[in-house]
Symmetry: C2
């Protein structure tokens, strides 16, 4: 399996409702894109306020393997999400790593 973690920082103009719309779009990807084992996304409610730094939305996608992650990038449903971020997003950080079997 392969883990894909993304944190999003939005422009100051974003509202909670708009962020929730992005969360809903992300959650829908699980049913639209093959190779996803599990997907979670949500608005950041961390109590570690020093570590928010403006990153107010998190995404975790667990893929079957790295090939599935590579196929996710250009998938039309993912690309539609990426396009919808235009004008809203200020920064995105991504970490990807293999998940060793336990």
């Amino acid at each position: 399996m392969f883990e894909h973690l993304v944190v999003f920082k939005f422009n100051d103009s974003i509202t909670p409702a708009k962020q929730q719309e992005f969360v809903s779009q992300l959650l829908a990807l699980q049913d639209e894109i093959p190779g996803i084992i599990d997907l979670t996304a949500g608005i950041n409610v961390t109590e570690e306020t020093d570590h928010i730094q403006g990153f107010t939305l998190g995404l975790r996608v667990t893929f079957e393997d790295q090939e599935a992650l590579r196929a996710y990038g250009p998938h039309p449903a993912h690309q539609a999400f990426v396009a919808s971020l235009s004008g809203w997003v200020e920064n995105v950080i991504v970490t990807d790593f293999p998940i060793p079997s336990r």
Copy 2:
């Protein structure tokens, strides 16, 4: 369930071996701390190089609920990990969010 995503940026002096040591420490937490449903961690191998920004280690912990996350913070095994970061870590970003049941 409750999701806890963390990305770590280290000082330039860190080596891959030292980062792997942190990954191993993190993976061990699953067996030491109650309330963890799943935990993954790894050195960032993302191919989205524009989105690394120095964040070279990712962690995902899925907890039973927010109370379990709150108990994880001060747990001695977690605190020992946090102490071991001293002098190595430059920045940490955290996103936490509830996982709606599907």
